[in-house]
Symmetry: C2
Subunit: 332 residues, 2 copies
């Protein structure tokens, strides 16, 4: 421990002493309660300023137990889908007077772990995306209400907002088939080891039309990932005329990759994404997508957290669903 400038915390006691009053008087002055002489109040305020006093939020929180904080955990704030979910959660939390601590886990299980370890002592509930096994999450959250988002088909131990894109993806495939496409590829999520649930829907959709499954390439969850994945796919399988992407950010990368390969969208290559982010309306051509209501998604998650927290009746699995629907724009 370094010697010398050891700076102990300035407490209400120090201020009281400096101002020559009791701690309660300091508290009164600081919290603008009445019942205090103006000159005394000023003296206290001055002392507080001089000493650089700042009340401890813990001590205060301990006494007036009136604030609720929720931890929002997402893999990548810069992915516009997560941005939208975060914005929605923020809005829903604000409406309840809650505080939101945001953690960006950078798509890494390691960071998820680190986050969970520190989060438990900071929030009253956790909402978000986790790739960690439920058992592990449970162990680290120890009784904290947890609401998972998009946790595949079965979340056993925790509430989970399920994303149901089955019909939406089926509609997307149907649309492609109607438009004459027969060789349809997919750009799946690269992070997980197994194929994604969205891939399963994709396969189902193809099967429903008696189509053989097209090539599936893995893409990192960003524009560059989609770009290089589609290039790989088209190079190896030039006969492909349409691709379905795990999400919009990958699909947007595919738009770019297609252009670089001299394929015009949608004429030479149809592209359909998943998520329906606002950003999709800004690219050229506007992105067709199996769209989610992100606003509702965030609100739903926070709402469930609230129910879990206050002992209200939690929503069951059937209510915790966000359905996705095909939204056709220009790219398919």
């Amino acid at each position: 421990m370094p010697s010398g400038t050891e700076s102990r915390r300035v407490t209400i006691h120090d201020v009281a002493r400096a101002a020559g009053v009791s701690r309660q008087t300091v508290s009164r002055a600081l919290n603008d309660k009445g019942e205090i002489d103006d000159s005394t109040k000023q003296r206290v305020l001055d002392a507080a300023l001089t000493l650089g006093y700042r009340p401890s939020r813990f001590a205060r929180g301990l006494v007036r137990q009136d604030t609720i904080s929720v931890g929002l955990v997402i893999p990548d704030l810069l992915n516009p889908f997560f941005t939208e979910v975060a914005a929605a959660a923020l809005e829903a939390a604000r409406a309840r007077g809650w505080h939101v601590l945001v953690y960006d886990t950078a798509d890494s299980a390691q960071e998820e772990l680190g986050t969970l370890q520190v989060i438990a002592s900071q929030v009253d509930a956790v909402v978000g995306y986790f790739s960690l096994p439920e058992a592990e999450i449970e162990q680290l959250t120890r009784g904290l209400p947890v609401v998972l988002i998009d946790r595949g088909e079965h979340a056993e131990r925790f509430s989970s907002i399920r994303i149901d894109g089955r019909d939406g993806v089926r509609a997307a495939i149907a649309h492609l088939v109607e438009s004459g496409h027969r060789r349809i590829g997919m750009l799946d999520h690269a992070a997980r080891t197994e194929p994604s649930v969205r891939h399963a829907w994709f396969a189902e959709g193809l099967a429903a039309h008696g189509l053989a499954e097209g090539p599936v390439y893995r893409a990192d969850q960003n524009v560059e990932g989609g770009e290089s994945a589609v290039e790989g796919l088209l190079t190896a399988h030039p006969e492909v005329t349409a691709v379905f992407a795990f999400n919009d950010i990958i699909a947007i990368g595919a738009l770019r990759g297609a252009r670089r390969m001299g394929r015009q969208v949608p004429r030479d290559l149809a592209v359909i994404g998943f998520d329906g982010v606002r950003l999709g309306t800004l690219v050229e051509p506007p992105l067709s997508s199996v769209a989610l209501d992100t606003r509702r998604l965030g609100a739903l998650a926070v709402d469930q957290a609230a129910r879990l927290l206050t002992g209200g009746t939690p929503l069951g699995p059937d209510d915790l669903v966000a359905r996705a629907e095909l939204r056709l724009r220009g790219s398919a």
Copy 2:
């Protein structure tokens, strides 16, 4: 007060009683300390689970004062510029082991006020965008370290990260002039009553080339705002061949508006934005912009907060600057 289901908080004491042990033993079991019999531990854990016990983060924080939280206040998380700044701040905070509470003030002074009122008792420092007068901020933060971002030329009472786009905007104008443009308009920020600092730079740039100032239209800070503003501008001033926008999101709206009016960018209308958001590379044509290093911006703000907080030597105004530089892509 509603009668009946009054649910008092479950404390460590309750668990102790239920398990027939002392509070300290409960603490040991919960925190995985050693020195406890396995069966005892299990008994405690069971009791805790049954009672639905969750430790108070305040009580815990009070004892082990080891966590730092910073409040991040931004006007609109969905504006990609703020998304990038937020992501950068999150990253910088995580590197320090800090927690970040995010508040979206929805571009409203009212919400800023509300946020400031509740934030002071929740965080150790505040970083962000405020339109409120400094005196008001000061009153509500009472000694909390505050780092403002983009607070115009002079922030008197608080540290402020100044955004210096003078040279960048001048370069932008120079580029437009070299490309033959003489009638250059601007889409300014609508929220403030006075013209923005960016507008002043714009005017300076024109003056440097002996050009008369073109029309200035106000735009809401979103795509639709830029879209309708540019339509208004071009309708009233069809002779305009180039526009500079307050920021990229407005500029992207202008791109769309121009297209709707049958103007091809950059041939019939050159567009230059401000901020240099990643999103600018995804639109058609890619947006030219006076670009900021958002990553550095966020890191700088958090760094200064850290210095203020720990009594390190705070950075002076000359170091708290983010310079913007012209980044030419396709739209001009």
